[in-house]
C-alpha cells in the first residue's frame, strides 16, 4: 500500500496554504520525521515532516502551488519493496483524507466544508448588531436563516447526529421521560426510544464512567450533566479516564465522549450551583473545551463535537438556553472546533469573550459605539484548542485588549490570553491587557450580591476607557 502525504494544518484556523518548496525529489529515500517540504500561510512558513518511511513515489502538488487545501494529498510515498507500479490507482482520490477517519465519523466526511463559500459582505446579516458575514464563512450565500433558541439548536444538533449515526446516544439524569432538566433533550425519547435516550441513576461519577466505557467500545455517547456544577463529582472520569487514556495506552484506546450541560451562574442558585468551568477544563491536555454563545454556534459545534474522536467538554448556559438567534437552514451545518468568530469588526479595542460573557461584550460594544469607540468583539467559541491567531491579528489592528468571562479571576481564561498576547504581540500593545472576571468569592445567593459578583457592562466600558485613555 502506498502512503498518502497530506497538506498539514499548522494552526486551528488554517484551511489552505502554499506549497513553497519541495526539499525531496521523486526517488529519494525518506525517514520518519525528515523535513520533506516547506509550506507557507499568510502568517508563517512551516516545514512538513514525513510521518512514515519510504521512497518518494510521486509529487502530486508541485512547488509554487498556492491555496492548497488542508488534508489534500500532496505526495505519495512508496513503502519498502514497492515500485512505481504501486502508484497506479493511488493518488489524490476524492475521499483520500476523509476515508482514513471514516471509522470515527460513521462514514461521514467533512468534505462539505470545502464546498462552502464565503458569503459576500453584508448579504446574510444586514443588521449591524448581528454577526457579520465574515464571521460565518461556513454558510453559503443566500442561506435561509431561522430564528432558533439555543435550547432548540442543541436538541436539533443531537437529533441530527442521532439520525445519521446509530452509535450516538444520550444519557444522563432526567434526559428521557422528563425531556431534560432544562428541556434540552425535548422530543428525543419519542423519536429515538429508551435505548438511545437513557435515564440514569443519580451519580454523575457513575454515568461519566459508563460513558467512557461505552466510548471505548466504539459508541459515541453524549453525557448530559444536569449542570456542570454537579459534574465536579465526575471530574475524575473526565480528566483521568477520558482525557488521558489515549495517551497512557500508547494510542490504543480513545474515548470520544461529549460531556455537555449548563455551566456557570444562572440566577439565585448560590455558591455550589453557579460556577464557570471554562478555565478548569481548558487546563487539561487531551480535552477539547467548547463554550458557545449563539444558537448557530451551539448547533454547529455540538455536531462537530459528537463527530470528534476526542473527549469534549461542551459548556452551555442556562440563561442563554431561551435566547433566539439566526441559525442557517442547512442539511448538515457543522462548524470547525477551535475557531473563533469575529462577532463585530472594530478598530479601537478588542473585546474577547465566550459563552454568556459575550452578552457583556456585545452590550458594551454597542454603548461604546455611541461614544465613538469602535470595538472589535471576538467570540472564542472554543476555549481549547484556542484560536489565539484571531485574537493576535485583532490586537495587531486595535493595539488594545480586554477579556471578559464570568469565572474566577485567578488562572482565568483571560489571564492565559493576556500572557500569550504579551508574548506574541508585545510591540503592538498600547496599553496593558485587562482581564475582567467574576469576583474572587463563592457566588452569593442574594440578588444584589450576585449581581456584584458577576462582571457587568459598566466594568467593560470602564476598562475600555482606561486602555484607550479616554475619560
Amino acid at each position: 500500500m502506498t502512503i498518502e502525504i497530506t497538506m498539514p494544518a499548522l494552526s486551528p484556523t488554517m484551511e489552505e496554504g502554499n506549497l513553497a518548496k519541495w526539499l525531496k525529489a521523486v526517488g529519494d529515500k525518506i525517514e520518519p520525521g525528515e523535513v520533506i517540504a516547506e509550506i507557507e500561510t499568510d502568517k508563517a512558513t512551516m516545514e512538513v515532516e514525513a510521518a512514515d518511511e519510504g521512497t518518494l513515489g510521486k509529487i502530486v502538488v508541485d512547488e509554487g502551488t498556492e491555496n492548497v487545501k488542508v488534508n489534500s494529498v500532496i505526495a505519495i510515498l512508496l513503502e519498502e519493496g514497492e515500485d512505481d507500479s504501486a502508484l497506479e490507482g493511488a493518488g489524490p482520490s476524492a475521499n483520500g483524507a476523509a476515508s482514513a477517519d471514516a471509522d470515527d465519523t460513521g462514514g461521514k466526511t467533512e468534505a462539505a466544508s470545502d464546498e462552502r463559500e464565503t458569503p459576500a459582505e453584508g448579504k446574510v446579516h444586514p443588521e449591524p448588531k448581528k454577526p457579520e458575514p465574515s464571521s460565518l464563512p461556513e454558510v453559503p450565500e443566500g442561506t435561509e436563516m431561522v430564528q432558533t433558541t439555543v435550547r432548540e439548536a442543541l436538541r436539533d444538533a443531537m437529533a441530527e447526529e442521532m439520525r445519521n449515526d446509530d452509535r450516538v446516544f444520550v444519557m444522563g439524569e432526567e434526559v428521557a421521560e422528563y425531556q431534560g432538566a432544562y428541556k434540552v433533550t425535548q422530543g428525543l425519547l419519542d423519536e429515538f426510544g429508551a435505548r438511545r435516550v437513557v435515564d440514569t441513576p443519580i451519580t454523575e461519577h457513575g454515568f461519566a464512567g459508563v460513558g467512557v466505557g461505552a466510548a471505548m467500545a466504539g459508541l459515541r455517547p453524549i453525557v448530559e450533566f444536569m449542570t456542570f456544577n454537579f459534574a465536579m463529582q465526575a471530574i475524575d472520569h473526565i480528566i483521568n479516564s477520558a482525557a488521558k487514556t489515549r495517551y497512557m495506552a500508547g494510542g490504543e484506546m480513545g474515548s470520544p465522549v461529549v460531556f455537555r450541560g449548563p455551566n456557570g451562574a444562572a440566577a439565585r442558585v448560590a455558591a455550589q450551583h453557579s460556577q464557570d468551568y471554562a478555565a478548569w477544563y481548558s487546563h487539561v491536555p487531551g480535552l477539547k473545551v467548547i463554550q458557545p454563545y449563539s444558537a448557530a454556534d451551539a448547533k454547529g459545534l455540538l455536531k462537530a463535537a459528537i463527530r470528534d474522536p476526542n473527549p469534549i467538554v461542551f459548556l452551555e448556559n442556562e440563561i442563554l438556553y431561551g435566547q433566539s438567534f439566526d441559525v442557517p437552514k442547512m442539511d448538515d451545518f457543522v462548524l470547525p472546533i477551535g475557531k473563533a468568530r469575529i462577532h463585530r469588526s472594530g478598530k479601537d479595542v478588542t473585546l474577547v469573550s465566550f459563552g454568556i460573557g459575550m452578552t457583556y461584550a456585545i452590550k458594551a460594544a454597542d454603548e461604546l459605539a455611541e461614544m465613538g469607540i469602535d470595538a472589535e468583539v471576538i467570540d472564542l467559541r472554543t476555549i481549547r484548542p484556542m484560536d489565539l491567531d484571531t485574537v493576535i491579528e485583532s490586537v495587531k489592528k486595535t493595539n488594545r485588549l480586554i477579556t471578559i468571562e464570568e469565572g474566577f479571576p485567578q488562572s482565568s481564561v483571560g489571564d492565559y490570553i493576556a500572557n500569550q498576547v504579551q508574548r506574541r504581540a508585545f510591540d503592538y500593545l498600547d496599553a496593558p491587557v485587562i482581564s475582567i472576571a467574576g469576583k474572587d468569592v463563592p457566588m452569593p445567593y442574594a440578588a444584589n450580591l450576585e449581581k456584584l459578583a458577576l462582571p457587568n457592562v459598566g466594568e467593560v466600558i470602564e476598562a475600555v476607557k482606561a486602555v484607550t485613555y479616554k475619560d
Partner: protein
C-alpha cells in the same frame, strides 16, 4: 431504653500482626464440591444464599469434585499451568530487577496467578477485560510477548507505551486487556459501560472487570454495581479478595462483617464466592457468569478468595504489618501447586514432566527479559522524546508539534 452502653469507637483489627501466629479461622470456608450449582438462568431471588458459600472444585488430593467441576481438556489446563508458572517466574525476576535498579517499580501477583489465567482462557477473543495490576497471568495465558512486558517495565526505547505509564500498568487491547488505571476502581465503571455498549449493539461480547477488596470502599464500585444491576449489563464484576490492601486487612473494607460477594445482594445481581486459588473453580464460576450474561440475564459479581503472598509492591515490606508464615498458613493453598497436583492426579502430568515444564518456562522468561534488557533497562535506553508529544489527541496537534520543536526534536 434497656440495651444501652457507653459509646466507644470500634476500629477493626486483623487476627494477627507481626509476632502473632497466623490465624485464618475467621475466613468462612466450605469443602470442595459442597456448594450447589444452579442453572445459569436461575432468577436472582433464588440465588441469595450463594454469596455466603464458597465454590470449590479441587479437593485436598487435587481431585475435581462436585457440581461445579468443569470439563476441561488437558491442553487447556496445561496452557493455564504454563501461564501461571511463567507469571511466577517473571514476577520473581522482575522483582529482583527492581532491586538491581533496572526498573523503578514492580508489583507481583504471587499467589493470585490462577485468576487471570483461568479467566483469560475462559473469555472469548472479543470480550474485554478491565484489569488491575495483579492480572499479569491474563496476558501470559494469551501469549502476550514477554519481551514487550519487559520493555514496558524497563521504560526503554521499545516500550509499547512509549515511556508514558508506570511499570506494570500495561495496555494490550488486542489481547482483550484494557489499559490499567492507577485510580482504583475507575475501570469497573468502564467495564459496565463497555458491556452496555455491547448490549446496545445486540453484540455477543461481554466485559469483565476487577477490583481488589480494599477498593470496594470506592464509590466507583457501588456506581458500577448500580448500573450493572439497573441495565442488566453483560458484565462479570470480580472482587479479588487477597486479604490485604497494603497494610489494611480486609476488615478495614468491611470484610469481617460479611462477604464481599454479598455486596451483590443489595444490587439485585447474583453474587458468587469462589476459591481464588482453584483454577477449576474460577474457570467454572466465570463460565457460569458468562453464560448467564450471554443469556441476557445481566451481571454477576464474583468474589475470588485468595491471598497476596508477596508484598503489595516493590516499595512495601509486609513483614512490618502481618504475621510471619501467613502465606504458608493460608487455608486455600497455592494455586500453582494445586493445579499441578490436579494434572498429576488426572494422569496428565508427572513430577518430572512438571520439572521440565518449569525449566522450559524459565528459559523462555529469561530469554524474553534478556531481549528487553538488551534494548536497555531503566535510564540506559530511553523512550522517544518525539512520542511524548503524540497521541494527546487522535489527530496530530500543532501545539504539541510546536512544543516538540522547541525542545529540538
Amino acid at each position: 431504653m434497656k440495651n444501652t452502653a457507653e459509646l466507644s469507637l470500634y476500629v477493626p483489627e486483623p487476627s494477627g500482626r507481626p509476632g502473632d501466629e497466623p490465624d485464618f479461622s475467621n475466613v468462612p470456608l466450605q469443602d470442595a464440591g459442597e456448594q450447589r450449582c444452579p442453572d445459569t438462568l436461575t432468577p436472582e431471588i433464588e440465588l441469595r444464599d450463594m454469596p455466603y458459600g464458597l465454590v470449590r472444585v479441587l479437593d485436598d488430593d487435587g481431585k475435581a469434585v462436585g457440581p461445579w467441576a468443569p470439563d476441561l481438556s488437558t491442553d487447556h489446563l496445561m496452557r493455564g499451568l504454563d501461564a501461571m508458572v511463567r507469571t511466577r517466574i517473571f514476577d520473581d525476576r522482575m522483582f529482583r530487577a527492581n532491586r538491581q535498579g533496572k526498573t523503578s517499580f514492580y508489583m507481583k501477583s504471587t499467589g493470585e496467578e490462577a485468576i487471570g489465567a483461568a479467566q483469560s482462557l475462559c473469555l472469548g477473543e472479543r470480550d474485554m477485560c478491565f484489569p488491575t495490576y495483579r492480572i499479569l497471568s491474563w496476558l501470559m495465558a494469551r501469549d502476550y510477548p514477554m519481551t514487550a512486558l519487559g520493555n514496558q517495565i524497563f521504560s526503554n526505547a521499545e516500550d509499547p507505551l512509549k515511556g508514558r505509564q508506570l511499570p506494570v500498568l500495561y495496555s494490550a487491547r488486542d489481547y482483550g486487556f484494557y489499559s490499567i488505571s492507577g485510580n482504583l476502581g475507575s475501570r469497573l465503571g468502564h467495564a459496565v459501560g463497555w458491556a452496555m455498549a455491547s448490549a446496545y449493539r445486540h453484540d455477543d461480547s461481554i466485559a469483565l472487570g476487577y477490583v481488589g477488596e480494599g477498593t470496594t470502599a470506592e464509590g466507583n464500585v457501588h456506581e458500577a454495581l448500580t448500573f450493572a444491576g439497573v441495565y442488566r449489563a453483560p458484565v462479570i464484576l470480580c472482587i479479588t479478595n487477597n486479604q490485604w490492601a497494603i497494610s489494611s486487612f480486609s476488615g478495614i473494607a468491611g470484610g469481617n462483617r460479611t462477604t464481599f460477594a454479598a455486596k451483590a445482594l443489595a444490587y439485585g445481581i447474583p453474587g458468587l464466592r469462589v476459591d481464588g486459588n482453584d483454577f477449576l473453580a474460577i474457570h467454572a464460576a466465570t463460565d457460569w457468569a458468562r453464560e448467564r450474561a450471554l443469556g441476557n440475564k445481566g451481571a454477576t459479581l464474583i468474589e475470588l478468595v485468595t491471598y497476596r503472598a508477596a508484598a503489595h509492591s516493590s516499595s512495601d515490606d509486609p513483614t512490618r504489618y502481618r504475621p510471619k508464615g501467613e502465606s504458608e498458613a493460608w487455608p486455600l493453598g497455592d494455586p500453582v501447586e494445586r493445579l499441578k497436583q490436579h494434572l498429576i492426579q488426572r494422569g496428565d502430568l508427572t513430577e518430572d514432566g512438571y520439572t521440565d515444564l518449569h525449566e522450559d518456562c524459565e528459559k523462555r522468561v529469561r530469554a524474553a527479559i534478556r531481549e528487553a534488557e538488551a534494548v536497555g533497562t531503566l535510564g540506559q535506553s530511553k523512550p522517544s522524546v518525539k512520542a511524548m508529544f503524540e497521541e494527546v489527541f487522535k489527530e496530530p496537534d500543532w501545539r504539541q508539534i510546536e512544543q516538540r520543536r522547541e525542545l529540538g526534536y
